[in-house]
Symmetry: C2
Subunit: 301 residues, 2 copies
């Protein structure tokens, strides 16, 4: 899993602070998560191949999370895209995008498929043999979802030398990788555990932005490899977090701690603070492994 932050600032875009967008590279997929104004420029800046994006997940319909979507969809058309593009987002997203394409008489020449969301419980949005994507219902001023990206456990790794030493017939290898026991050339059962090793632990990534402090998400995100949690404010401005239904760095850390995640990534910083280090300091008082999102930063999970 490789996470690239395209933008991680709240509210108004500035030349050095892009609104929310990130790409997650996992098992051959390049998932785009949120798409604030200027996202397509950030994709170019960081040399991310547009054509690899086939699924875009929009958390909610505030401008700093989706005003760049229609432009990206239009650019795909100008680049001659042919393959399907799937958009997952709150109900209403289809109307607003198609209205703009209609007004410009600029329909896409590729299939544009909307998956509108209005459920308040987790929903499976995408699944193949290697990865799944599920909504994480959040609590904000408008209907909002986070997204949970989960790798599936791969096949068991065969210890070929040991299998050969135990005279396990090669024709069983495929099923052994899937967890079955082997059979030796003299007919004896060879337990799976003796000739295989565990595959790498599946990675998982939870994206939670925007939301107020909402501990109800903890059971769903427990033990994830990385949690991106919004931290719009510092604790000294807790009243603003309450008012605007955002979270503080301390609250994000509390979620991370209670969900026993491996790593917390903070983002969605308010522009009122001169730097980001205060966010990390505040979170470190509660949780030990805190990273700061920055535009252009890459996290190898």
């Amino acid at each position: 899993m490789k996470l690239t932050i395209l933008g991680c600032h709240s509210a108004t875009p500035r030349w050095d602070a892009n609104p929310t967008s990130q790409v997650l590279d996992v098992k051959g997929h390049l998932f785009l998560i949120d798409c604030g104004e200027g996202t397509q420029i950030q994709l170019r800046r960081f040399k991310i191949k547009f054509a690899r994006i086939k699924h875009i997940f929009i958390s909610h319909l505030h401008g700093d999370h989706f005003f760049g979507l229609v432009g990206l969809i239009s650019t795909f058309r100008l680049l001659g895209r042919k393959s399907e593009l799937h958009i997952y987002g709150p109900k209403g997203i289809k109307e607003v995008i198609t209205l703009q394409l209609k007004l410009g008489d600029s329909w896409t020449n590729y299939p544009l498929l909307f998956h509108e969301l209005d459920s308040k419980v987790p929903q499976l949005l995408f699944e193949d043999e290697k990865v799944s994507v599920t909504t994480i219902p959040l609590k904000h001023r408008v209907y909002t979802n986070g997204f949970l990206f989960q790798e599936k456990a791969g096949e068991r790794e065969l210890n070929v030398e040991k299998a050969k030493a135990l005279k396990v017939e090669m024709s069983y290898f495929r099923k052994i990788k899937q967890g079955e026991d082997g059979v030796s050339s003299d007919g004896a059962i060879v337990p799976n555990a003796e000739i295989t090793i565990d595959p790498p632990t599946p990675k998982s990534y939870a994206y939670c932005s925007d939301t107020e402090y909402f501990p109800q998400i903890i059971p769903q995100i427990t033990n994830v490899t990385a949690l991106y949690h919004e931290a719009t404010f510092l604790e000294k401005d807790h009243h603003l977090a309450i008012k605007t239904k955002h979270a503080t760095a301390k609250e994000a850390a509390s979620i991370a701690k209670n969900a026993k995640v491996d790593m917390l990534i903070l983002g969605h910083y308010s522009g009122r603070y001169p730097g980001k280090e205060e966010f990390r300091k505040e979170a470190l008082q509660i949780f030990e492994n805190v990273e700061l999102a920055e535009d252009g930063k890459v996290f190898e999970l």
Copy 2:
């Protein structure tokens, strides 16, 4: 009149090539013309005071001319704007902007006034005692207007010394500036021309983008101080200009020559060409005073 180019490239935004937007500073007004994605970032980059913008003119509803509008409107809200904002643009612009504000539950807390256009003849959009703005109907794939910005002639300048020498009574000075004759203390009529000089010639600016070669605009833009005319293509790609209803540099120059304008500014370049100098070269074969728009360039007219 001071024209600042915020973006002058066609189609997809790139980090070094912004889609169309420009600001015209004239007689105390700061008019924003078109608003492609990223315009608000360009406004910040070039340190243009957001609050001074009270009128935004949108030529047509292709993304590279208006996808930045909703973000700018939202940013005005976040900045606590109180004063009216007037949006002039094709029918449909109100629906698409208000739908986005509705979906995000982000209504403006300042008056947002739409003036929707569907006329195919020139329309006066704005007028005060110093300046007027009129549509220039253009011909493109969708309904499109250019805009003509015209200063009004100021008062005549009084030659005070000569007026005093001719014993013109001061109480007449105000009316003399407005063109009336004076009267000397001995009752003689003093012709206006003897005691005044012409005020500076009023400036005018015609913005014409996007459009195919459309000589019908010539009577309306004759003698303007500066004409910005789209030149998406070079003449060698004339077939593409025909197909997409855009113009070539040569065609833009032909319009400039026949309209006897003082200066031609080319822009809206296709990304297919490595540089801009070829556009100037081609236009110079037809018309002598050709400038190239560039992001961030300022023209003092």
